[in-house]
């Protein structure tokens, strides 16, 4: 129910009246009972998927705070509005969520992706409620928590006062403040339900309980949402065989998860395989910065720590190095500082493991940029990660300079990096080192996946050296599937992107609207 009033200047203003906070968001504990058409089935799911993928893409661009919320609000209004909690809005929300549950429960990667972005959506909606509405929602959803007594607050005053609160997620944040302890309500929550706060040391702990100020309650509720959704996904996975018996939806559902998945560089590569002897040259010429750093440090120290080995090893796998060659490569380098025996015992196994020849035989896919940027950063003695993300300005400048990048280009890349547009910076790097590439080859996936960068570079030099007459430019549906992030996540093809054509999504045939 909404009432319209006209203000003095004749513009309609809406009074926010009577929206049901408990209907604006949901823990999705019960599946909806409804009948829908097949068309609705697909459409609802795709609309929600669009939202989730936009969340990912906005985050990758480093958006945060109000900017993030505004952009997301726009996308949500376009795809699946949820402003008043009307029956229609709720219906679409519930149905689309559960359809996507089916589509995204199959593998661990899919589940993780879905969990992550659904949680972000939930957090967004939760933060839009005011504290009364939130309290009401909590009550209705059975999320009651103990309030800390006045005596205890006084007893712990000094410690509670000393707990820093970052205004946004650590890493993005600028402001740090503390709460006015005596004027704040605290909740006593088992630490297992406040893991996010615990991990970032954003909360005071005593005897296994986290003392959470009311303004941090959102994190807790989101954590609860996440864990209950996680359980739900596993249940969905168990129910899959039954779901797939319906011949109509089975193909829709199996394709949904693949819908925006581009090339993930898993599996055996057809075409040119990589020559180990060329690696040094290729590191300078064709590898993205992240892999170049790893290669150089490997050559320098004759070893890499765990994440470095994984990130670089999987990259090489995706670039076409077979398992035997890989083992030979690492062995040759590592045995400069250790015996073959030690190498075989401590490192060979893990190489075979990520080729899928050991243990649970999972064929690991090379990391995409999303994973590298958002993953664990390098610590002391480590060289993995994304230099545009993990290096500070001075070191990044030095690195690019050593790589032979000109001053003006360097400045631009650093500017992009400071604005947290890490992938754009990497793409810029590709452009400056591969002049004229757009007209020779397809730059699909560059900036989204290190292997795409590498593949594009190889193709560029192949073209340049006069082999083949393939004209490139706009992605050719028949030539290749768009090389984008591995697994379920993928760039939503933000129309505002300056590199529209290379960020195209879709499988090439009948690509959905960006």
């Amino acid at each position: 129910m909404q009432t319209t009033t006209r203000a003095i200047h004749g513009e309609p203003t809406y009074t926010r009246v009577k929206r049901e906070p408990t209907r604006l968001l949901s823990l999705y504990n019960t599946a909806p009972q409804a009948e829908i058409t097949l068309e609705e089935f697909e459409l609802y799911a795709l609309d929600r998927l669009q939202i989730l993928r936009s969340i990912e893409s906005l985050r990758l661009r480093g958006m945060k705070g109000d900017e993030f919320r505004m952009k997301l609000e726009e996308i949500i209004s376009a795809c699946m509005p949820m402003t008043l909690g009307t029956a229609e809005e709720v219906r679409k929300d519930q149905i689309s969520h559960f359809i996507l549950r089916i589509a995204y429960c199959k593998t661990e990667d899919l589940r993780r992706w879905f969990l992550k972005h659904e949680s972000e959506l939930f957090r967004f909606r939760l933060e839009r409620l005011d504290s009364n509405e939130r309290a009401k929602f909590m009550e209705q959803s059975g999320l009651a928590y103990d309030v800390v007594s006045k005596e205890d607050v006084l007893r712990l005053k000094a410690q509670l006062q000393a707990v820093p609160i970052f205004s946004q997620q650590p890493g993005y944040g600028q402001g740090i403040h503390t709460v006015e302890v005596t004027r704040t309500q605290f909740f006593r929550i088992p630490f297992t339900q406040a893991l996010d706060l615990v991990a970032h040391r954003q909360v005071f702990l005593e005897g296994g309980f986290a003392y959470v100020p009311v303004e941090r309650l959102v994190s807790i509720i989101v954590a609860r949402f996440r864990s209950s959704l996680s359980r739900g996904l596993l249940e969905a996975f168990g129910a899959m065989p039954y779901v797939l018996t319906d011949g109509r939806i089975a193909p829709l559902v199996s394709n949904m998860a693949k819908q925006y998945t581009g090339k993930d560089f898993s599996g055996t590569k057809t075409g040119d395989s990589l020559d180990l002897n060329d690696l040094d040259m290729l590191a300078d010429r064709s590898m993205p910065m992240c892999m170049r750093v790893l290669h150089k440090n490997l050559r320098l120290e004759h070893k890499l720590k765990h994440w470095g080995r994984l990130q670089y090893g999987l990259f090489l796998k995706g670039a076409g190095i077979g398992m035997e060659d890989a083992i030979q490569f690492w062995e040759k380098e590592f045995t400069k500082i250790m015996t073959t025996d030690v190498f075989n015992k401590q490192y060979a196994y893990s190489i075979r493991h990520y080729f899928g020849k050991e243990g649970k035989r999972k064929d690991y896919t090379p990391f995409n940029c999303s994973k590298i940027i958002l993953g664990p950063g390098p610590g002391h003695g480590e060289f993995h990660g994304c230099p545009f993300r993990h290096y500070d300005e001075a070191n990044l400048n030095k690195l690019l300079e050593r790589a032979g990048v000109g001053a003006m280009d360097r400045d631009e890349m650093i500017k992009l990096s400071k604005g947290q547009h890490y992938q754009l910076a990497c793409m810029k790097h590709f452009e400056t080192t591969h002049k004229g590439a757009e007209s020779l080859i397809s730059m699909d996936g560059v900036g989204n996946h290190p292997n795409a960068f590498f593949a594009a570079s190889m193709a560029f030099y192949k073209e340049k050296n006069g082999e083949g007459g393939r004209r490139g430019g706009s992605p050719n549906p028949s030539s290749q599937t768009s090389a984008s992030s591995a697994g379920p996540g993928e760039d939503a093809g933000d129309p505002a992107s300056p590199h529209g054509e290379s960020m195209e999504i879709g499988t090439g045939e009948g690509s959905p609207p960006a």
Binding site: G171, R201, E206
Partner: protein, 505 residues
């Protein structure tokens, strides 16, 4: 020749009454009992026991000087490894031979162990029904290393019989691994696998900080600290809620316990401390600073304030160059490291209050280290933490699947037994006096010699005749007994509740 002497001599000392009776271990005990069987045949020789004392000692010395050998290992597994206490710990009271209703009968059987045989061959998915099955397997396989894994949905040795999804970890202790090699960048006394009393103090500091945090912040109570055998310590948190922690939970705990860090390249970005300091940091500082002063600063430690070069490096990190230069002059004037530290602290304190204008500080209630307003205040914390703050191997703690060396295993390089450490007495723990296999062998002989006439004393389980007795008692005190007590209380409560309900009828 000496080998034969060794075996015959100590075997003749053992009698059947020394060992608990193994019903199902006939063939597997063969190799170690066959000697005893001959001893039984040589009953008369037992009477000569006292005069054999010389033989054993001589024989013990006559063994090659190695701290670790297959013979020593066999002896250890045969007479010293505390199977029963370990079983009692890892089963948390779930004895399969106990008929009570609350027992999870196959709990212990679902625990994974892994063995390293002969330094080379690594076998996973070992599992045993109870202490005696475990003993037989260990005695048979003579593993150089024993690791403990998680409790799974079914006995690990049967994991091939089901689909991969059906074989999952159910619970697992929360574990931590602190290794001296992670401190290499601040150790000047040793590197790599080598340790000395000067750098061992880093382990002591780590144990104190982590133990306090685990107990006070997380409320954990059943915590077992263990010497890793060479250059570090392990921690096993055995509370039921710790065992049930998800990977995310473990990840969160270990991140809470770790310093926010980047590497040299990302320092400018967002590594490092910020103001205000979380209460766990101020507490850690209070624990660490005294040890920093006595154990790291001076000659008895890493010599951080001992020579011009080293204090220069330290003062370089001060965010105030003028202050640093003033202090450099002072350093030369003072004669010992502790005085220098006090001087530095007092001048930093003075500078920090004079420095930032009162208003700016009062208005902002927090800031990062790089932010000038609090840089000076944070400096001393950063210094102390850089040296002393625990450096945990996060990968060990994050997964429920990670296999970790078993307490009371023997380290193949040092021959030392991985004994528990008492966190209340960690200052007095000396890794260089941890019993080795040879020493333990000698202790048994000595005890038996002293109690040659006292049959019941000699009938004690062998580990109780040695230093291992107190080690095992520590295990029992930290984990076994509290768990048993808690179970008892819980059952009592349940019985009372039940009785009350039935009574109401």
């Amino acid at each position: 020749m000496s080998f034969l002497l060794f075996r015959a001599s100590f075997l003749s000392r053992s009698s059947f009454s020394n060992r608990p009776i193994h019903l199902n271990a006939k063939n597997t005990l063969c190799t170690s009992t066959c000697g005893r069987l001959s001893a039984a045949g040589n009953r008369e020789n037992m009477e000569i026991a006292p005069s054999n004392t010389n033989k054993v000692s001589v024989a013990a010395a006559a063994i090659n000087d190695q701290e670790f050998s297959p013979e020593l290992l066999r002896f250890f597994y045969n007479r010293l490894f505390p199977y029963q206490p370990m079983f009692k710990w890892l089963s948390y009271g779930n004895d399969p031979d106990n008929d009570a209703a609350h027992i999870v009968r196959d709990y212990f059987a679902c625990r994974e162990f892994s063995f390293t045989i002969n330094d080379d061959i690594y076998i996973r998915y070992q599992s045993f029904r109870d202490a005696s099955e475990m003993e037989s397997a260990i005695q048979k396989k003579q593993p150089h290393k024993i690791d403990i894994g998680a409790v799974f949905t079914l006995p690990p040795k049967d994991h091939h019989t089901v689909k991969a999804e059906a074989f999952k970890p159910v619970e697992r202790e929360l574990i931590f691994d602190i290794d001296m090699t992670d401190y290499d960048d601040i150790r000047s006394c040793c590197t790599g696998a080598k340790i000395c009393p000067k750098c061992w103090v880093f382990m002591t500091m780590a144990v104190k900080v982590v133990d306090t945090a685990l107990r006070e912040d997380f409320g954990f109570r059943y915590i077992l600290w263990v010497y890793s055998g060479r250059r570090g310590v392990h921690c096993w948190v055995c509370d039921p809620n710790a065992r049930a922690l998800s990977n995310d939970g473990r990840s969160a705990v270990v991140e809470y316990l770790s310093l926010p860090r980047g590497n040299e390249k990302s320092k400018g970005k967002n590594g490092g401390l910020s103001w205000p300091l979380h209460p766990s940091f101020t507490r850690a500082f209070d624990i660490l600073e005294p040890m920093f002063e006595s154990g790291v600063l001076g000659e008895a430690g890493q010599g951080v304030l001992d020579s011009e070069n080293s204090w220069d490096t330290l003062l370089d990190t001060l965010p105030d160059e003028d202050l640093a230069n003033r202090l450099r002059r002072e350093m030369r004037r003072l004669t010992n490291a502790q005085d220098r530290w006090l001087e530095i602290k007092s001048q930093v304190r003075a500078a920090s209050s004079a420095h930032a204008s009162g208003n700016a500080r009062r208005q902002s209630r927090g800031g990062r280290a790089g932010n000038g307003l609090f840089a000076l205040d944070l400096w001393k914390y950063e210094v102390v933490f850089q040296y002393c703050y625990p450096r945990l191997d996060v990968n060990v703690s994050k997964g429920t699947n990670h296999l970790l060396k078993s307490p009371f295993a023997v380290h193949p390089k040092t021959g030392r037994v991985c004994v528990p450490i008492d966190p209340e007495d960690v200052d007095n723990f000396d890794p260089f006096r941890v019993p080795t296999l040879k020493a333990l062998a000698a202790q048994i002989d000595a005890y038996d010699a002293q109690n040659a006439q006292n049959a019941s004393a000699k009938a004690l389980p062998d580990y109780k005749k040695t230093e291992l007795k107190s080690a095992v008692e520590l295990l029992e005190r930290c984990v076994v007994d509290p768990v048993a007590l808690a179970t008892k209380r819980r059952l009592k409560l349940e019985r009372e509740k039940e009785a009350a309900m039935i009574g109401d009828f």
